[in-house]
């Protein structure tokens, strides 16, 4: 990319930004500087604080402390309207478009200083001109839902340009694009930069950093760990190490690794999305033995969750096989798979894991209510349920006023313990856990990990999906890395190198560098 002039005042300067969420330090004293005509790549794992930082720049959150300067002037940004007035616009991962309205209508939607009857003819003319100027090929009369994802993204870009944005923030813009569309996006960006506009680019893909950006800034756990010109980066490995970090791992007590018989096996699983035929799962195979924890690493959205839903019967695969103890369970119902001995700690604990409006006791019995342990023929025995729930609450130290309290009133950690208790208690040999420690505090996280290891030591097979490499290296025996629906590689934890895993997570093939 072309050289940038650095003499003028930076267009964005964020100084000492700190932001807390309950139990989480999302940003810790972060500085960020963006110059005119510059593309800054903001790199980091999920939960590193990239989106939080940018949301403060566009007024969706307010920083707890720290200051933001726009064009050298201290700015108070309270809302997206404020940031738009300062020339800052953000394109979110989820597009903010109304599907059954036209491009032109979407572009002017929410604009303040329009007359009661907007002069649509003039607006359309302006849009067409702007679109031609940047080579966007956006037609104002098209209906949004008839457009491809790439075209919709161009509408989002045009929306910002139309409102006079000078600073564009793009949150993982290429995540939804085909390679061809990504190249087009690159061209559009170049044209805008040539006019003195600037951009911040959130990503976790290494090759994009090298391709698009002038400067790269790496966030890790809310802290900025490095800022440097992209041209100074010699090896992609350096970036990977910066992103993942090399913290000392504390070890958890665990028995020797003694893998038993194969419990769960996937053979060439393929899942395509309806309509677009995009590959969500692309030829996924693995084996999982008793007494073993297979970790699945990868940035969220690379098919991990769909893989677990295929294994648990919640989603169907197009081809391939799921074998449980050697028997075919491909596309069977969730109940059949539960009966085969599979327990499931789902990714979204509030929406999939518990029924918030039902009591702790009821939630604990949601697997076993259909067994003779809790019911006599078809009638649930309340007294048996009480004793059963009391026992689980004690064993798993669930903090709740009583077992009659609705689950939704518990803390995130205790909700997760409730799920863990139910799934582990009913586990018949295979435990599938998806992001089980996500959003939990240190204590609850440790409890979750210890319980997973306990299952492994008992000889059960554990399938653990996590976004945190550290967790996987601490808990798992083997780690499979997923990228865009494929398993890039499966490595033994004892031979695994963090940076190597980081590269695989970013889609860099082994041996290609």
């Amino acid at each position: 990319m072309h050289e940038i002039e650095t003499d003028d005042t930076p267009v964005v300067r964020m100084v000492g930004i700190t932001k807390h969420f309950p139990g989480v330090l999302a940003n810790n004293n972060v500085d960020l500087t963006l110059h005119r005509g510059e593309v800054l790549a903001l790199l980091g794992e999920n939960g590193a604080g990239k989106s939080t930082l940018m949301n403060m720049l566009v007024g969706l959150y307010r920083p707890d402390s720290g200051e933001i300067f726009i064009n050298g002037k201290l700015a108070e940004i309270h809302s997206p309207q404020d940031s738009m007035a300062l020339g800052i616009g953000m394109i979110h991962q989820e597009f903010m478009l109304v599907g059954n309205m036209t491009v032109a209508e979407n572009i002017i939607l929410g604009m303040k200083d329009l007359p009661f009857v907007p002069p649509l003819a003039d607006i359309k003319k302006n849009i067409t001109e702007l679109s031609k100027h940047y080579g966007l090929q956006v037609y104002p009369d098209k209906i949004i839902q008839d457009l491809s994802v790439g075209e919709q993204q161009r509408v989002e870009i045009l929306k910002l340009l139309y409102r006079g944005a000078e600073i564009l923030i793009l949150d993982e813009p290429t995540a939804v694009l085909t390679p061809g569309e990504s190249r087009d996006l690159n061209e559009i960006l170049k044209k805008m930069l040539a006019e003195g506009k600037s951009a911040i680019f959130i990503t976790h893909k290494m090759d994009e950093v090298m391709e698009f950006s002038h400067t790269v800034q790496v966030l890790r756990r809310g802290t900025s760990v490095n800022v440097c010109p992209t041209s100074s980066i010699k090896r992609v490995q350096d970036l990977a190490r910066m992103m993942v970090g090399r913290d000392i791992l504390f070890s958890l007590d665990r028995g020797a690794y003694e893998p038993g018989e194969v419990m769960l096996e996937a053979k060439n699983l393929v899942m395509q999305s309806v309509g677009t035929n995009k590959y969500i799962l692309d030829n996924v195979s693995f084996t999982l033995r008793g007494g073993e924890i297979l970790g699945v690493a990868g940035v969220a959205g690379n098919g991990q969750q769909q893989l677990t839903e295929a294994l648990t019967g919640l989603m169907h695969v197009n081809s391939g096989q799921v074998l449980i103890r050697g028997k075919d369970y491909t596309n069977k119902t969730p109940l059949q798979i539960i009966r085969s001995g599979v327990s499931h700690i789902p990714a979204d604990r509030g929406r999939m894991g518990v029924v918030g409006d039902m009591s702790v006791g009821d939630n604990l019995s949601m697997k076993k209510y259909r067994t003779s342990e809790l019911s006599d023929h078809s009638v649930i025995k309340r007294s048996w349920v009480r004793l059963f729930a009391e026992r689980l609450i004690e064993t798993f130290t669930i903090k709740t006023p009583s077992q009659d309290t609705s689950v939704k009133f518990l803390s995130g950690g205790n909700i997760q313990k409730t799920i863990l208790a139910r799934e582990i208690d009913s586990c018949g040999g295979i435990l599938i856990a998806v992001y089980p420690s996500r959003g939990l505090d240190v204590g609850a996280t440790e409890a979750v990990r210890q319980n997973l290891i306990k299952q492994r030591d008992k000889g059960n097979a554990v399938f653990l999906v996590s976004e945190e490499l550290e967790e996987l290296l601490m808990v798992a025996d083997k780690v499979a890395v997923m990228f865009e629906g494929r398993i890039m590689d499966i490595v033994d934890v004892k031979d695994a190198k963090t940076e190597e895993l980081g590269m695989l997570m970013a889609g860099v093939e082994r041996g290609s560098i």
Binding site: I338, V354, V355
Partner: protein, 355 residues
């Protein structure tokens, strides 16, 4: 003074009981305003309504006769609502039931006399179940919006019923209505006008209470209604249960029609769609989908109905006033349900009293 709502730590049991009662009183208060505006004395009106509903043995009997189909429709709607399946087609399922029993009464003359009523009941219930099951299948298999489907199916079956009693099944004499059911196949009376349908309703309340609160299936329905995704993760089949619940819901609404025609109207004729199915929606909501509470709500609704008929006679007020009052009951109740999960805080007065 400012008010704020704070989420409670748990659902307030006290409020769950208090809110419906307070709402009822509030709706009478709102009704009083409407009555005053119509130049009627509210107290006089309410007294007249009460007397109209419970003032004599025969009036109590009238009210009870109306209670039976209302209660059954409330139970029917309540089952579907437990799954968050918005069945507003109880009216049509009721009519479907009446068509079923009328078919047996009119054409299955080969049956021995004692068998006509039982067979008629079974066929009517099946007709209702089919009419409820269709939108259930549509929803489960192709996610067809159930609100629209059940509503539209009301019009189809009501139109068909009209065709039957005006054309195809019309009795030779008169210009509408089918032949009256043979007297040996009427549902017997037990106290004045009150008929054996009361037993059907009460037994059904007991069965439903047991099934919904004590059995695995009731537990599954509860899970689906409160979090469908989580229920699916726990291995509960959503499709199967939606269809099953709608078959039962339609069947019970069909039973309401069957009983009312076997015991009261004795034919299929104009007025078969009397609105019981729609009032059933109010009953289901007000009772909190609880079958036992439905009994009391159904009596209340029936009393409002018979009571407002009396208005016309004693006070020369339009009987539509009763419908106004029925409508007014639901609004405070829905608004009031917020107090079971939130409590109202008064945040103190503003010091500045001057403007």
């Amino acid at each position: 003074m400012r008010f704020a709502l704070e989420k409670r730590d748990s659902k307030s049991r006290k409020m769950t009981v208090l809110v419906p009662i307070a709402s009822l009183l509030l709706s009478f208060l709102l009704g009083a305003i409407v009555l005053t505006l119509s130049k009627a004395n509210p107290i006089q009106t309410y007294v007249a309504m009460f007397k109209g509903a419970f003032g004599s043995q025969s009036k109590i009997q009238f009210t009870l006769v109306k209670t039976v189909p209302l209660l059954l429709c409330g139970l029917a709607v309540g089952i579907a609502f437990r799954l968050k399946f918005w069945n507003i087609g109880a009216e049509g399922q009721y009519v479907s039931g009446v068509i079923g029993i009328t078919w047996v009464m009119q054409f299955w003359t080969f049956l021995p006399h004692w068998l006509v009523l039982p067979v008629g009941i079974v066929v009517g219930v099946l007709f209702g179940a089919i009419w409820g099951g269709i939108p259930g299948v549509l929803k489960a298999q192709w996610s067809v919006d159930e609100t629209l489907a059940t509503l539209m199916m009301n019009y189809i079956i009501i139109g068909y019923a009209e065709y039957l009693y005006i054309n195809a099944w019309k009795a030779p004499r008169g210009n509408m209505g089918t032949v009256r059911y043979p007297e040996y196949a009427w549902l017997p009376r037990i106290w004045g006008r009150v008929h054996a349908g009361v037993f059907f309703a009460l037994i059904l309340v007991a069965i439903l209470w047991f099934v919904l609160y004590k059995t695995r299936w009731g537990f599954e329905l509860n899970m689906i209604g409160k979090n469908q995704k989580a229920a699916r993760c726990q291995g509960v089949s959503i499709k199967k249960n939606i269809i099953l619940a709608m078959l039962i819901s339609g069947g019970i609404a069909g039973l309401a029609g069957v009983i009312d025609s076997a015991a009261v109207t004795h034919q299929l004729t104009k007025g078969v769609n009397g609105g019981y199915g729609f009032t059933g929606i109010i009953i289901a909501w007000m009772s909190g989908l609880n079958p036992i509470a439905s009994i009391f709500v159904a009596i209340l609704m029936a009393a409002l109905d018979t009571g407002s008929d009396a208005l016309q006679i004693t006070l020369k007020l339009p009987s539509a006033m009763g419908e106004v009052l029925q409508g007014l009951i639901l609004i405070p109740l829905l608004a009031g349900s917020i107090f079971t999960e939130y409590k109202l805080l008064v945040l103190g007065k503003h010091k500045e009293s001057s403007k």
